[in-house]
């Protein structure tokens, strides 16, 4: 093994990439506009949820309830008839429909515990669950406040003070931005190494390389460092300029530590890219394989939905994916300000997974390289 071979072959990779201006534009897009859009598009938990109210009571209490729903959590409520309710929900116009029965105020004051019906469109997963909780709390609060003016209530004086740490406003853009960077890091590193390998094969340059005094290890390592460097540069730019600068998201921990983690992650994903490149026989096959690998990596690593909500089998299986650990690491460092003493297990896991992937890729690369020629 010669370090100079690895260096010059890596330089060659960088030069090849520099010749593809479209690729450059796409990389810039993926690490700027895409991050920004993904971060800002996500509503703050419940945002502008469409709600309709059937007010059959028309009492001061019911108007009070109607008035309690306002932006940004809810769109101003649509006041509708009961007959319209079903059709509107079918058409997806409303996520929630609240039906306040006749004589609601009178019954409540008389202690008869009237029933309000809340219809929720359960196909709208995220809004359905958080939204119905909000609506119940709002209706209860309004009723209680109204009732207190007329009679004594007998509540226990225990209050629950809730504070969200690390992201007090539970601002989704904080989360969305970082997760999108992680997704793009994975995607780009796999594409750059895997597709580049297939291109070399389709253009016959791999065969040419192999007739020279360079080893498969040198060829592979050069791709890993060169493409890793490109992605690392892009993510640094994204983190500093887009996330901290443009989106003004406070980063608690050390960016350098995060980038070190990203480098470890890149070691793993570039190896994965090469591995996929040795499996796919042509570019169209690689494209499909990429989708097949990328979606589970993105959806199940804990970056889209919490890991706690996944079935055990999936949860344990995903521990073999570098992304899972990288997401944990990123959350710990960037949001919770964790230091190396806290995140070292993730580092160890990513590097171990990376080493295994690199080893498998190298074995496959050595084995299939004769067939590539």
């Amino acid at each position: 093994m010669r370090a100079s071979n690895i260096f010059y072959l890596g330089i060659k990779e960088l030069r090849s990439l520099a010749r593809d201006p479209v690729m450059f534009v796409l990389i810039v897009y993926a690490f700027s506009f895409a991050i920004y859009t993904a971060a800002t598009a996500m509503p703050e938990t419940l945002n502008m949820a469409p709600i309709a109210i059937v007010d059959e009571d028309r009492s001061p209490l019911s108007s009070r309830i109607v008035g309690a729903f306002y932006p940004p959590y809810f769109l101003p409520p649509e006041l509708i008839d009961q007959s319209e309710m079903d059709a509107r929900m079918d058409a997806g116009l409303d996520t929630f429909a609240l039906d306040i029965p006749p004589d609601f105020q009178r019954d409540m004051l008389a202690g008869r515990r009237p029933t309000v019906q809340l219809n929720v469109d359960a196909t709208r997963m995220s809004q359905a669950f958080t939204g119905s909780g909000y609506i119940q709390a709002i209706v209860n609060d309004e009723v209680r406040a109204f009732a207190q003016r007329y009679r004594d209530t007998a509540e226990l004086p225990v209050e629950l003070t809730l504070r969200a740490r690390f992201n007090p406003q539970l601002n989704k853009s904080w989360f969305g931005a970082i997760m999108e960077i992680i997704n793009n890091v994975t995607m780009l590193s796999i594409v750059l190494t895997g597709a580049a390998l297939i291109r070399e094969r389709e253009h016959g340059t791999i065969e040419h390389l192999l007739s020279m005094p360079v080893t498969p290890f040198e060829i592979m390592t050069s791709k890993v460092w060169a493409m890793g460097l490109v992605v690392l540069a892009a993510s640094t730019f994204s983190l500093v300029v887009i996330v901290r600068g443009l989106l003004e998201i406070p980063v608690e921990g050390s960016i350098l530590l995060f980038l070190a983690g990203a480098a470890a992650q890149l070691f793993a994903t570039t190896s994965m890219g090469i591995f996929l490149g040795t499996i796919a026989r042509s570019m169209p096959q690689f494209g499909l394989l990429l989708m097949l690998v990328l979606l589970p990596l993105e959806m199940l690593s804990g970056g889209t939905t919490p890991r706690e909500s996944m079935p055990d089998a999936v949860r344990y299986l995903m521990l073999a994916a570098p992304n899972t650990h990288f997401v944990m690491l990123a959350q710990a460092i960037l949001y919770r300000g964790a230091g190396f003493s806290v995140v070292w297990p993730q580092f160890v896991a990513i590097i171990a997974i990376g080493a295994v992937l690199f080893g498998i890729a190298l074995t496959r690369f050595r084995k299939t390289i004769g067939l590539m020629a």
Binding site: A18, Y36, G92, F104, K172, N184, R199, M291, G302
Partner: protein
Amino acid sequence: MSEPGGTKDTGSIPPVVRLRDVGLRYGEVRALDGVGLDFPGGCMAGLIGPDGVGKSSLLSLIAGARSIQAGKVEVLGGDMADARHRSEVRGRIAYMPQGLGRNLYPTLSVMENIDFFGRLFGGSDDERLHRIKVLTRATGLGDFLDRPAGKLSGGMKQKLGLCCALIHDPDLMILDEPTTGVDPLSRRQFWELVDTIRAARPGMSVIVATAYMEEAARFGWLAAMDGGKVLADGTPREILESTGTQSLEEAFIALLPEEKRRGYRKVEIPPRTEEADGEIAIEAEGLTKRFGDFTAVDHVSFRISRGEIFGFLGSNGCGKTTTMKMLTGLLPPTEGRARLFGKEVDANDLATRRRVGYMSQFFSLYTELTVRQNLELHARLFHVPAGEIPGRVREMIERFDLEGTEDMLPDTMSLGHRQRLSLAVAMVHKPEMLILDEPTSGVDPIARDAFWRILVDLSRSGGVTIFISTHFMNEAERCDRISLMHAGRVLVADTPEGVVKKSGAGTIEEAFIKYLEEDSAGRDAVRAPDGTDELARVLSAKDGALNAGAKGFRRFFDTRRMLSYARRESLELRRDPVRLTLALLGSVILLFVMGYGINMDVEDLSFAVLDRDQTVTSQDYTLNLAGSRYFVEQSPITDYADLDRRMRAGGLSLAIEIPPGFARDIARGSPVEVGAWIDGAMPTRAETVRGYVQGMHAHWLAVKARELGRGEEAEGLINIETRFRYNPDVKSLVAMVPAVIPILLLLIPAMLAALSVVREKELGSIINFYVTPTTRLEFLTGKQFPYIALSMLSFFMLTLIAVAVFGVPLKGSFFILTAGALLYVSAATALGLLISSFMRSQIAAIFGTAILTILPAASFSGMIDPVSSLQGAGRLIGEIYPTTYFLIISQGTFSKALGFEDLRSSFVPLAIAVPVLLGLCAVMLRKQET
């Protein structure tokens, strides 16, 4: 510069092509400079000239494959700048681009390739099949109808190309170096075939560019080009007369400008002096290579001594390249042994590789690196000392006459220049041995001689051993020894004179053919193809032409042409079972993964308590949380530092602090505050935790109040009855599956379609679209069709699995869902085609598709958050993205049992998206190279 007078011999037939002041630039490089030329009609017109003088550019302009930058190009009586004329004459022109089988489809069989071209021009099935039969019989391809084009030898590929070109009876046939890289026998057969065709269709004009001067001598008319200009034109005799030379090769050199001629000398080969030294450089012993049950190389043995020039001759596909690859260690032999410098060839032996220079048959340098960068990279990889590199690179550039091209990219150079670069690269580290696989294919005579002078010098004064394969007989004569290979076996190995003498023939070429005839396996190859008479009859029959049917074709959109493309794309897809499986099975796997994996119910959240009260009441409060299925209690928190550390590490989603005096204060009725910290790093999870904690807190209070005898009032003043509609059990799966299907039906179909166009661009077969009458819409919809069909199959599978395996009820109409899916996958594949039309490399298309589909489909189309709740650019993307609307249709039919009337507002955007996307594709896609 020539005047029309040059065509006087061809009589009254008007010129088939007229060029006036034609110019062409590639960036800084001027490829054609004010060319004015008339190609006579009804004859075989040749273009000769050194590499990179613009022959190929000129032919592609004439064929209409490239758009005209300057000047006037008239073909078959009309202006090629006029789109209307172009589309009219495309059916009358046939164009075979440079490069073996470049416009063929490698995975399609011989039959399917011809059939594809035939269908573009119409005619009945019977007519077409008959014609294919006649053509393939006459070309000797009749026995290989089912063989994939990619597995044909070079000569057979070119014959197949000719069949494809002839299927529609063209009036003008343009052949760009059709015999470059083809062995002498195949070359002879190729020209005999062309002669037969011309005899049968005397009106047909043929324009050929060639590097073989002996071929050019047979043409009726010639134009010699250099430096983007025409040097001379006329019949071969006229050219010989005007230059006062005996052969075209000499005439060509005489025509060159002074400064190019000056360096020219004849190749002289001094006899070898150290023959006795006897050191063996290359040794093969019973070398055998089998691929499956096909024996590519069959017990080949030879010994080449140091400093010898050993020539390797044989037809295409006879095993020369495989033998060379085994010598370089690229392929392990199945049997036998190969030794270099007395050492067994070992793929891991880097030291030996450093002593060898290898040049493969196909250009295999980095097209993204400039000439200089390629040379430098190779010098470094071969460990040329850093100080010597600049000098060495300069030396190579001078030696191979690459001055002026140092900073050019190989793609922009001619084939000949690229070959020279390959050679320079193979020699940059001054190897002791050169293994060269057809190094001079496509290189012009002057450069070839210059190259041979270098080889001779290396061999005679440097003692470099040279192992070279070639199709040029005059090069074979220059070798010390030659060996003739056929069907994996060496037929003869001797000095060139010895070979000729042994066979009793006059020249090496004759000897070559004679040996083949004597060999049982070679006899088939030599046998004159039968059926040429029939071919002549079919070609000369006026009404038999397929093109007669083409008149009935509609100009802007014809279903037959569209279907021909659809058929071909489907065949290619079918030949790639891995891709089919990935597309179908991949969707199913992803449905399982995402259906089960994405879940909005959060359970088993870790929490811990900092209990400063330590009473029964406080423990009861903790139990209230720990007892639920949502929370799992961790070891108690000891103090604030512990709390901080554990939250930072991500070990706790929730921390509860119960203040001292909690129980006492409750009993007294004084206000108490329970503190709860939620990990906000993941906002959705935090939100869920908040909801759970609040609910459980309220529940605990109610229970406590009852215990304390405060009665029913505390249980609440009202009831809120929540009905989760469409999914009453609030199963994540039931909500998720109908949302995942639209995402999968976007990502996979878009990726399938995204490579279809750009792949043809990268691999070269896009040229068929440029030069046939196919319109953009025919091309696009034809390509789209199989992917729509495949995606619909995938849709049926996904729906079946959703209902049968996941138990998601399909409450609405299956028909409406299917109709929506059809529109949707049409839009999805059109989106892929759009990316494909826009991008120039496959890598960019893959990356582009991934970033332009995953994020919008998964985040902006309403799967998690409804589009109406999104903000900013994401909202805008969501509003126009097709997934948004199919998601509504999918959820509407699956969960809500909605009818067409309810979903009309979602069908309309999808129905609009398809033509809009296809229209954009048509705008992005060029019908000519620019």
